[in-house]
């Protein structure tokens, strides 16, 4: 059995999750403190990929990044790099699709954060950077962690936009989900089932890890 799709899926999911972690936390932090009207508008825009079909996301990304489209053509001419049909093309697709998951959970966590903790930190002379990384983030840890695991799990399962941007090239861009589709299409049911089981195992592990993290956190809090 060729394990490349597993390796490729994991690296796409890992890179995307790291990128989305910083982008999502940043966006959540700033949107949470916006005036209500701007907040509603930005929130709608940033959540859109969650409700759009992945094929629509893929289509929109191709309009932007395709080799004959403005950004894609410029990068191709300037750096000689094609933005589509490589393994990391899937990262573009995955980042857009999983962004709302992390953004929304992080925003929820930030909004339920007790601002007096940050205010107390400021009156104690703690810098805003310290307050953000050593007070706000750890206190909101549970929500942000949950969003991160969820985003990672979703990244592993991304199919629609990925297949449009990265295609299916065995040994180069194949992921678990595109492999399952190809195997099923070509009638190799036994092999498809194997990959299905692999995918189920990883997703289940991710969700169990999430539950475990939440329980440990909860246990700590309720102890008095």
């Amino acid at each position: 059995m060729d394990w490349f799709p597993l390796y490729n899926s994991l690296r796409i999911a890992a890179v995307s999750t790291v990128l989305v972690f910083f982008a999502g936390v940043c966006a959540a932090y700033y949107v949470a403190r916006m005036p209500r009207l701007v907040k509603g508008l930005l929130d709608a825009v940033l959540t859109l990929p969650l409700v759009l079909p992945p094929t629509v996301v893929g289509y929109l990304l191709l309009i932007l990044l395709g080799p004959r489209r403005p950004v894609g053509a410029w990068v191709l001419e300037r750096f000689g790099v094609r933005l589509t049909m490589t393994w990391w093309s899937a990262v573009f697709a995955t980042v857009v699709v999983i962004f709302p998951l992390l953004y929304r959970t992080a925003r929820g966590a930030f909004e339920s954060f007790d601002e007096t903790l940050a205010q107390a930190g400021a009156t104690l002379g703690l810098s805003n950077t310290y307050i953000f990384w050593r007070v706000r983030m750890p206190v909101c840890r549970q929500g942000i962690l949950a969003g991160t695991v969820l985003a990672f799990a979703r990244a592993l399962g991304e199919y629609g936009a990925t297949s449009m941007l990265a295609g299916y090239t065995p040994g180069r861009t194949a992921t678990i989900s595109t492999t399952v589709y190809q195997l099923w299409r070509t009638g190799d049911d036994a092999m498809a089932l194997r990959w299905v089981l692999v995918n189920l195992a990883i997703s289940a592990a991710a969700l169990l890890a999430l539950n475990f993290l939440e329980r440990r956190e909860g246990g700590q809090k309720s102890w008095r």
Partner: protein
């Protein structure tokens, strides 16, 4: 050393107008009903909220000045803030919380200060626990220790006992009083509890619907609250519209059909007469300011009986009066349906609606 704050701040329809000065030595109380702007006042002084205009200074350092556009961030104000719910960092141990306050210091010195504060506030046993695992009293001590670790030049206390039950409150008040007595800078103590203020702060600044009154001695405030709001805050329960009487030093309460003698001078703008329930008592023979009343209802309180009275000859819509009387004294009254009560002229409070 002194903290002076004179500023205005608008929050929606609410307008805050503060003018106060706290000296070192003993805390200045900021007494006000809920929603009177006490917390906002503290947050403006600490730099958490920005006033619209005005000036805040601490020992000659300008913290905020709208004219010269000075607005120091909270980090550089040197103003310690004890929050209502203490705002301890929940993910850190007590030791880490206190150490966070002492972050300006280097390793060894910092450790020494943290250890000293843990010992001083009797928290050594709880040093490795988190705020959620210690009692309310320990939480307050930890918050105080953390605040002092940052060596503030002034301290703001926002209802320091509102998160505690009454027995704990009693014990901790003594400790807090001692801590503040050893603090060299000015302190501002926000409260809505008259008893708490009476026990801890010799001087009081009353905040009424966003406007602060000049600070006064506690005894003076109790003897002559001047406004209806201040009278309410200081425990007065009986109010009635009043006008100046024809005789010298007399006032008329039309609703009760009474003319009473008041010791205080008549001030411009007085609209309301106030009488504390404890100031009313069964009249002695020949006592002045005596009037016959019907007893409407009697309620038993912890230390006294509370009788709701309606003066004979009162208009139907006139306010009734509460009288608080010691239980033995009440039991010895021959007639509990009707009685003649009196109020001494110096206990009649002549009040204006606002400042």
């Amino acid at each position: 050393m002194a903290l002076t704050a004179k500023f205005t701040k608008r929050l929606g329809k609410f307008r805050l107008q503060v003018d106060l000065a706290a000296e070192s030595g003993a805390p200045l109380a900021l007494l006000g009903a809920s929603g009177s702007g006490k917390s906002v006042t503290l947050k403006c002084i600490a730099g958490i909220l920005r006033p619209d205009s005005g000036r805040i200074a601490l020992d000659g350092t300008v913290l905020f000045d709208s004219e010269t556009h000075i607005d120091l961030p909270p980090q550089r104000r040197g103003v310690g803030f004890l929050f209502q719910q203490y705002a301890l960092f929940p993910h850190m141990t007590v030791r880490q919380n206190i150490a966070a306050g002492a972050r300006g210091l280097k390793g060894g010195e910092r450790n020494r200060r943290v250890e000293a504060l843990l010992a001083r506030f009797r928290l050594t046993h709880a040093a490795e626990r988190r705020p959620g695992q210690i009692s309310g009293g320990e939480q307050q001590r930890a918050a105080l220790a953390r605040l002092l670790a940052a060596e503030p030049r002034a301290v703001l206390l926002d209802e320091p006992f509102s998160a505690l039950d009454s027995f704990l409150r009693w014990q901790l008040e003594e400790e807090l009083r001692e801590t503040l007595a050893g603090f060299p800078g000015p302190a501002l103590w926000v409260s809505h509890d008259l008893g708490e203020v009476r026990r801890n702060c010799p001087r009081v600044c009353v905040l009424e619907e966003g406007t602060s009154a000049p600070a006064r001695d506690m005894g003076e405030l109790l003897a002559d609250p001047r406004t209806v709001g201040a009278a309410r805050l200081t425990g007065c329960r009986n109010f009635a519209p009043v006008r100046r009487g024809t005789g010298s030093g007399t006032v008329e309460v039309p609703g009760w059909g009474l003319t009473l003698r008041a010791a205080g001078p008549w001030r411009e703008g007085v609209t309301t007469l106030g009488v504390r329930p404890e100031s009313l008592h069964p009249a002695a023979a020949g006592e002045e300011n005596a009037f016959a009343c019907e007893v409407v209802r009697v309620t038993e309180d912890i230390a006294a009986m509370l009788a709701l009275l309606r003066p004979k000859g009162a208009a139907a819509d006139a306010p009734t009066l509460w009288m608080a009387l010691g239980k033995e004294r009440w039991a010895s009254l021959p007639d509990k349906k009707g009685l003649t009560v009196a109020v001494r002229p110096q206990d009649i409070l002549l009040l204006t609606d606002s400042l």
